[in-house]
């Protein structure tokens, strides 16, 4: 009798340990939370919105997933739960996930020269797929949006000289360093990956590939991904998803590329995404680059970029305050959309207050 009871107890324990929440057509919702910690988070994320000066923190959406359940959601400005919001450079990390599916099919290797899949790179034959994923092509790219518009490669690529064929525009740049030797954040590198994908999966599969490979398996129904005139996805900038849908990609990443019982992204692919690029030098950017994701890791003798979040935190980040933070150790995915026109928003502050509100934890 006693033995049978303990066996039953063990069984129940193992059942709860393995019970995992996954979103179906909608996210299941957890308990509604309130209290001073939530208030402190909202005070930071949702101050009164100034539409005339556009100054300060202007959050459009804040959504939190814990243990696969939606536990917090709030929208502001024109954005609602149904808005496919522009993700800007979060698109880059989404392209990494799309590439991961092709990688899982064995269609390319990280050390393959990108030239193998994108012939116009003939002038830069040594650039590998891994180099592009590390933003380390060595191409002399100027990533600056508003402050140096004449010299900005990214403005020219999106709006003027490069918009017909963004990958070709990128490959026309000279090299300033040997490929793979130095980090320099480049939207051009991301669009070279998008162009390479065309031959990796073949032109017949390519136009639907982000949907068939990633969005549909995850139950994402309303994703938009704009292309240039050659049909190449603008992997650097132009994917649009609702906050709820983007969080599905976050959950996929939090669970090492597994969706339900399907390993959609190979584990070694996700490990590569989360491995710091060893040529990154301290303070080159706001976080540490991995394989097209951003990591909260100490690197090159500099401290973690976000001291109030655990070291396993990683993120997809975009212009004007777009962010998705994944904290596997705390089973959290946080999506934050914004329209920040100045630099006042701080990832660390948001993470600090979100962790207080949803885990009750403060980083020592």
């Amino acid at each position: 009798m006693f033995k049978g009871f303990s066996l039953l107890f063990m069984l129940l324990l193992s059942l709860t340990a393995h019970a995992e929440n996954w979103p179906a057509e909608q996210w299941s919702t957890g308990p509604t939370l309130s209290g001073p910690a939530i208030q402190a988070l909202e005070t930071y994320a949702f101050p009164p919105r100034d539409e005339s000066t556009r100054k300060g923190i202007r959050t459009d959406a804040l959504l939190v997933i814990r243990d696969g359940q939606l536990i917090y959601e709030r929208y502001a400005g024109p954005t609602t739960a149904d808005t496919p919001h522009l993700t800007w450079s979060i698109s880059k990390s989404l392209m990494a996930a799309v590439l991961g599916v092709a990688y899982g099919e064995g269609l390319f290797k990280l050390q393959d020269p990108a030239l193998k899949f994108y012939p116009p790179l003939l002038t830069h034959p040594a650039i590998t797929m891994a180099d592009l994923l590390h933003w380390a092509s060595g191409l002399d790219w100027q990533e600056d949006y508003e402050y140096a518009p004449l010299k900005s490669s990214v403005v020219a690529m999106l709006y003027t000289r490069g918009h017909h064929d963004m990958a070709a525009f990128t490959s026309d740049h000279a090299e300033y360093a040997q490929p793979g030797q130095a980090f320099r954040y480049s939207s051009g590198d991301s669009n070279l990956l998008a162009a390479a994908l065309k031959n990796i999966v073949g032109p017949a599969r390519y136009p639907d590939f982000p949907w068939t490979a990633l969005f549909e398996p995850l139950g994402i129904r309303h994703a938009v991904w704009e292309t240039d005139a050659t049909g190449t996805f603008v992997a650097s900038s132009y994917a649009y998803l609702t906050a709820r849908d983007l969080a599905r990609v976050g959950l996929l990443m939090a669970r090492d590329g597994r969706w339900g019982d399907r390993q959609l992204l190979p584990k070694d692919w996700v490990a590569f995404n989360r491995q710091p690029f060893d040529r990154y030098r301290a303070n080159q950017d706001e976080a540490v680059p991995g394989g097209h994701w951003w990591l909260n890791r100490a690197a090159d003798s500099a401290a973690q970029p976000w001291p109030d979040a655990p070291a396993d935190t990683f993120a997809a980040l975009g212009h004007w305050g777009q962010a998705m933070y994944v904290i596997p150790s705390e089973h959290l995915v946080i999506v934050r959309y914004g329209d920040d026109r100045d630099g006042s928003y701080r990832h660390n502050e948001l993470l600090k207050r979100a962790r207080m509100a949803f885990t009750g934890k403060v980083q020592p």
């Binding site: 539409e51 004449l150 003027t160 005139a229």
Partner: protein, 109 residues
Amino acid sequence: MNRRSFVRRRPFSTLWLILLIALLGWIWQERVALWAFPDIISAYTAKEYCSCRYVMNNDAVYCRGYVKQWLPFSAFTDDPVSKQVMVSGIGRSNSAMWIGERQGCRLTP
């Protein structure tokens, strides 16, 4: 009269001449970027307005504010039937068009 005495007699003219040559050199060096530069404001406005309006489905008034920059544009048309947006500014015109449910907007041509 040698070159040295010209510099002495006309120091300001010489300085202006050097600056002019430097400026022309810079213009020549940056000619491609300079020629494309005036397109930025109209192309940016057309593309990002189109996506704001027809991809993110925000209302027209919001989207006009969303794309507002420090440089004004001179003409703006948004045809809701063809979902085509045309913007002119600093002597250049650019248009963007909604392509489809998955592809969103793109600069045309």
